[in-house]
Symmetry: C2
Subunit: 218 residues, 2 copies
C-alpha cells in the first residue's frame, strides 16, 4: 500500500477537477479559477462552480487586502483551516472571536448569536478586514447591516451553510455588497461551511503570497 | 433585522431536514438518525443520507467508547469542530497530532503524509480510540492496514474528501472493518471533510452525554 505525498495528491486532484469542469462545459473566468478550483477540491462538490458569485474584481481586491491585512472568521474551525504559512508570508493576521468570553457574555445579554457580536467586534477593531463567514447567517446579516450603515470591509466571504436564513442572508449580503461597492465572494444556496470559507481564504492567500497552486506547478 | 438564537435556528433546521428526508422517502434507521441528521445539518447535502454506511451497531459501540475515551482526528480543523463541552462531560479527550514536529519530521524522512504518521501514533498511544479521518485518504488506508495487522480501534470514522485515492480508501476501510468486526461509519464516494468528521463525533458525543439533539428538545 502506497501512501503518496500530499503535494502529488493535490496536483493530481486539481488536474482531475480541471478535466471535469471542462467535461461539464463549465467556463470559469481565469481570475476566479483558483478560488473555484480550491473550493471544489475541499468539498468534491462541483455545484460550487455554479453557485459561487463574485462581485467585480473581488478576487483581485481581496488578494491585495491580504498583505499586512487581517482575516476574521466566524468559526474556530475556519480559522484552523486558514494556511498560517501563507498568511505569515504576507504579514497577514487571522483571528476568530467566537471563543472570547466577553463576546459570549454580550451575546447572552443581548439575546443574539456570538457570531453577531464577533462580527461587530471585527468591524470595530479591524474596519478594513477580510470577513469570512462559513457558518452563521446571522454574522453575514450583521455585516450587511453594517455595510449599509457605512462599514467598508476589504472583502466579504459569505459561505454560511444551513437551512434557516442562510439562502436569504447570502442574497442580501451580495446585493448590499454590490450596491455599496464592497468586494464579495458568496456561495448562493444552502451549501457552504467552515472548510469552504477557509478554502477561499487559502486560494487568495496562495495567490497573494506567490505560492503557486499545486496544479499550476505541474 | 432579527438575529435569532442558535438553539432556535438549529431546532428549526433539524425539523426541515426531517421533513425533507421524509419527502424524499429516505428511511434512516432510528439509531443512525442523529448522525445522518447532523451531517446533513453541517453540509446541507442530502446525498449523505445515501452515502453514509454503518457497520452493525457502529453508533452504539462508538457512543459507548466515548466515555473516558479518546478521539483522534486527522486535522486540526476537525479537532476544532469537536464539541469540547460534550467531550468534557464524558471525560473524553480529543487530540490531533498533525501539528506535531516529530510527526512532520518522521513523515518527511519516510516520504509519507503527516496524516499517516499521526494515525500510527494514535494507534500506538491510544489503541482503543475513536479515529476520525476527515481529510487524508492515506490516514484511512494506514488504519485499514493496521486493523488487518490486528489493531482494534473503538470506531473508525472514515470521511476523507477528494479525488485521489479517496473512494478506494473508504471502500477498503469499510471492508476491512466489516471483516475484522471494527465499528465504522464511512461516507462512500468523494465527499466528506473535516466538518463531516466533526459532525459525526458530535452526534455521538451529544447522544452519549445525554445532551438531546436540539430537534428532539423542541
Amino acid at each position: 500500500m502506497e501512501y503518496a505525498k500530499p503535494a502529488e495528491i493535490e496536483r493530481e486532484s486539481m488536474a482531475i477537477i480541471d478535466r471535469e469542469l471542462r467535461a461539464r462545459g463549465t467556463a470559469v473566468p481565469p481570475e476566479r479559477e483558483a478560488v473555484v478550483r480550491r473550493v471544489i477540491h475541499t468539498t468534491a462538490d462541483f455545484e460550487y462552480a455554479q453557485t459561487l458569485r463574485f462581485t467585480e474584481n473581488a478576487v483581485e481586491r481581496g488578494r491585495d487586502a491580504l498583505r499586512g491585512g487581517v482575516i476574521v472568521t466566524d468559526t474556530n474551525m475556519a480559522l484552523a483551516g486558514v494556511s498560517r504559512a501563507a498568511a505569515s508570508r504576507l504579514g497577514c493576521e487571522a483571528v476568530c472571536y467566537m471563543a472570547d468570553e466577553e463576546v459570549a457574555a454580550e451575546a447572552k445579554r443581548r439575546g443574539v448569536t456570538r457570531a453577531v457580536i464577533s462580527m461587530e467586534r471585527a468591524l470595530r477593531e479591524h474596519p478594513g478586514a477580510i470577513l469570512a463567514v462559513g457558518n452563521a447567517p446571522t454574522a453575514l446579516l450583521r455585516i450587511a447591516d453594517a455595510i449599509e450603515d457605512g462599514a467598508r470591509p476589504a472583502l466579504v466571504i459569505g459561505v454560511p451553510v444551513g437551512f434557516v436564513n442562510v439562502v436569504e442572508s447570502k442574497e442580501r449580503a451580495l446585493a448590499v455588497c454590490e450596491d455599496c461597492g464592497v468586494p464579495a465572494i458568496v456561495a448562493m444556496g444552502r451549501k457552504g461551511g467552515s472548510t469552504v470559507a477557509a478554502a477561499i481564504c487559502n486560494a487568495l492567500l496562495y495567490a497573494a503570497a506567490g505560492l503557486l497552486d499545486p496544479a499550476a506547478r505541474g
